[in-house]
Amino acid sequence: MTAPLLEAQGVTMRFGGVTAVNSVNFALREMELRCLIGPNGAGKSTFFKMLTGQLRPSAGRILLRGRDITGAEPYRIARLGVGIKTQVPNVFDGLSVQENVFVAAARRGSASQARRITAATLERLRLTAIAGRLVGQLAHGQRQWVEVATVLAQEPELVLLDEPAAGMTHEEVLRTAELIREINQTHALIVVEHDMQFIRMIARTVTVFNQGSILVEDDVERVLANAAVRDVYLGKQAA
Amino acid sequence: MALTGLILFNVANSIAVLVLLSLGLGVIYGMMKIINLAHGEFLMLGAYTTVVSTNAGLNLWVAMLIAAPVAVGLFGLLVERLFIRFLYGRMIDTMLATWGLSLAVIGLITTIFGNTVRGVAAPFGGFAIGGYQTSLYSLFVIAVAAVMAAGLWLVLRFTRFGLIVRATMQNPNMAAALGAPPPQIYMVTFALGSALAGLAGGVLAPVSGVSPVMGSAFIARAFITVLGGGPAIVTGTGLASTLFGGISEVATFLTTPVFGQVALLLAALIMIRILPQGITGRLLRRSL
């Protein structure tokens, strides 16, 4: 049994009197693909923000390959190999698609290496045709792809995707699922999603968040058949 | 002993001046998140109103305590209607536009009154602390600052207007849902802040030379105090005035006024490194 890639121990985030994430214990193996689901406000995005250093947990520890990264600067965590696509597309609107990806690829290695990674990533995400367009002028779905491209171009060890399929057409959703499986050939991933169909397409293990805590963590079919999970989604347990 | 008394008196005066200088700016910034770069010129207009209306035969007290705030308050209202309201939510653009206003007002006043320093004789005489002679007017300045801060606090805390303003600060949409349209609140707030600046300009007119560029002598201190104070208008401005007024007065006493200014700047820089959100951004967050 090797050490997990990512481990959260008793991670808690309080905003004033509200506890958004309440002592969550979470572990992800190397090369694992994990889906996080849960109703709005369950604490998924807050959890992601703590994993990437955008928020410092009120309590608890976060370990990446055994190394404590709790509350480290976002750029340090990124350098340790964590890449994230955020919920709201977080891209460089005033730069072209190609420049967006180049900036991501250029952090390490030589310029020619960065150009090679950029070209390969654009090809992989089928963005080559629009490489020269300003990202701010693209449709929502395309902007999401650009963001995924920047995440991949930084060659992370762990990829976090916050609602990668939101606002996409059916075809784009299928392509996203395919891409996630492809990324998973070489990387570990955590994917936050609402779309159950999408979850079925990609998931093996699912973690369900509710009211800041982990409700269940199990195989996808068992989770989706779980009565408590259904209740959460149908709002019976909302009180 | 007398020396200590004198120093304490000067520190109190220095704090009071900072409160006067910054309260109007603080009201506008705290409630509307607008940094009015023409604040110094609003003070200057208050001072000019006092000079002009006393020269026209108006009683000095009426001129500084009533004419100055009313005139500058109305001017603020006009400015808000003419262009500030088009720039809500665009903080940097508002700063640039108010800076343009600042230059234009300096230019206008220079054109009308010339680039000369005028003065108003300070009323009262002096009084002695031990063997040291000092000005009674400073005591009046301290009193005005205290009344202004206390009055604003009471208005915010106990009146319906204060309640609406506080609600708007917390959440403009919520306040709108309660039947207080934010545009009107902003308009009134801007006018109130302007009036406070006018009052301060009037009260400080006798102790500072009145000239078109007098605003720039005040503006740095006012900004430092408001940013240092943080979100709570009265408490923040009061605490920051005390801190910075004390530091600069003590540094001035120990060295020269030049180093007093330098000490003020250094204190402000260290402060933004330690408390980037200002004093009340971290401490006493629930105060006003």
Binding site: P74, F92, A106, L134 | M91, G107, Q261, I272
Partner: protein, 339 residues
């Protein structure tokens, strides 16, 4: 135009002015152009850190004035102007780095950065203004308070203080410096560092999440801008053999912003043209009594912020380059890395 073509065209135009203007202008005209050039260098520093770095400095004149005073003090003490010129760049660079450390590592917002930089320049004004008297003397150099420092020795042939540059040679030095700064900035912007700088302006969070320490990048941008502004201050002091605290004043700081805003944010050509245009306008206003320069400048600033926020150069470019999509906001326009 592609990046290279526009770059070559700009440098060619600069060289044409460098050698052409002495033939066209008399000595007075050339002197006036020399001070315009000093202002254009200052404008480039503001245009670089604001338009590309997204750093909202309202007090570039702090570094300009510091450069000017550093040159004056150093040259009065050293005689030869070579080291003082270097110091006039170095001292403001270091001061900007120090100030930048407090601001960027304190993570304050853009608006606060504007206020702090403004405050710094105003305080420098107040401080230098009150340095009259013998107490405030650095070596041979008396700071002179509000009277400023007269009779500052001009630039000389490097290493030979006995051969000062004449006005025409000073023009070559100043215009040469402007071209050099322009080339330097173009190179920076074309580099990987420059790409990241523009990316940070576009979305700081994203840049952090990609592993860039954005605080450090902004600090370096700010320090470079400080150094360039210092060079402008050195040229300015040279032009008049004189410097006074007004260089730190609020009106001066506003002027720099007006150059950039009028010329065009997110371009390098815009600030240069803005500096020339506004300085020319000020010199015109100076010849008459009726209208006050501050009044005109203030009105220009308000009008541009409200009506032409993207500035003249981008608007003119937009007329020539038809863009199918209607999105011509400041962000989209400013992003293009061009002169």
């Amino acid at each position: 135009m592609t990046g290279w073509a526009s770059f070559v065209a700009m440098v060619a135009a600069g060289l044409a002015l460098l050698f052409g203007l002495p033939m066209v202008f008399d000595l007075f005209g050339l002197l006036q152009m020399t001070v315009f050039v000093a202002m254009a260098v200052l404008a480039l520093s503001q245009g670089f850190i604001w338009g590309y770095g997204g750093v909202m400095s309202f007090g570039q004149t702090a570094f300009f004035g510091l450069g000017g005073y550093t040159y004056a003090v150093a040259v009065l003490n050293m005689g030869d102007s070579t080291v003082p010129v270097l110091l006039s760049v170095l001292v403001p660079t270091l001061f900007a780095a120090l100030l930048g450390y407090f601001m960027f590592y304190g993570r304050i917002s853009d608006a606060y950065i504007g206020v702090i930089t403004l405050t710094v320049t105003v305080i420098l004004f107040n401080v230098v203004n009150s340095t009259a008297g013998d107490f405030y003397t650095i070596g041979n150099a008396a700071l002179g308070g509000f009277n400023g420092m007269p009779s500052v020795p001009p630039l000389n042939v490097p290493g030979d203080p006995s051969s000062p540059l004449d006005p025409e040679q000073t023009w070559y030095a100043a215009m040469g410096a402007l071209i050099l700064v322009y080339v330097l900035l173009r190179m920076i912007l074309a580099s990987r560092f420059g790409r990241v700088v523009v990316a940070i302006r576009e979305n700081e969070t994203r840049a952090q999440l990609l592993g860039y320490d954005t605080r450090l990048y902004k600090l370096v941008v700010f320090a470079i801008g400080g150094g360039i502004a210092g060079l402008g201050g050195c040229l300015y002091t040279n032009w008049g053999s004189f410097i006074s605290p007004t260089v730190f004043g609020l009106a001066a700081s506003a002027q720099v912003l007006i150059y950039v805003l009028v010329g065009g944010l997110g371009t390098l050509l815009g600030p240069i043209l803005g500096a020339f245009g506004i300085q020319y306008l000020i010199s015109l206003i100076g010849t008459q009594e009726a209208v006050n320069a501050n009044l005109v400048l203030g009105a220009i600033l308000v009008v541009f912020v409200l009506l032409v926020p993207q500035g003249v150069v981008p608007v003119v470019r937009g007329l020539f380059r038809r863009v199918p999509n209607g999105r011509r906001g400041r962000v989209a326009e400013a992003a293009v890395v061009e002169p």
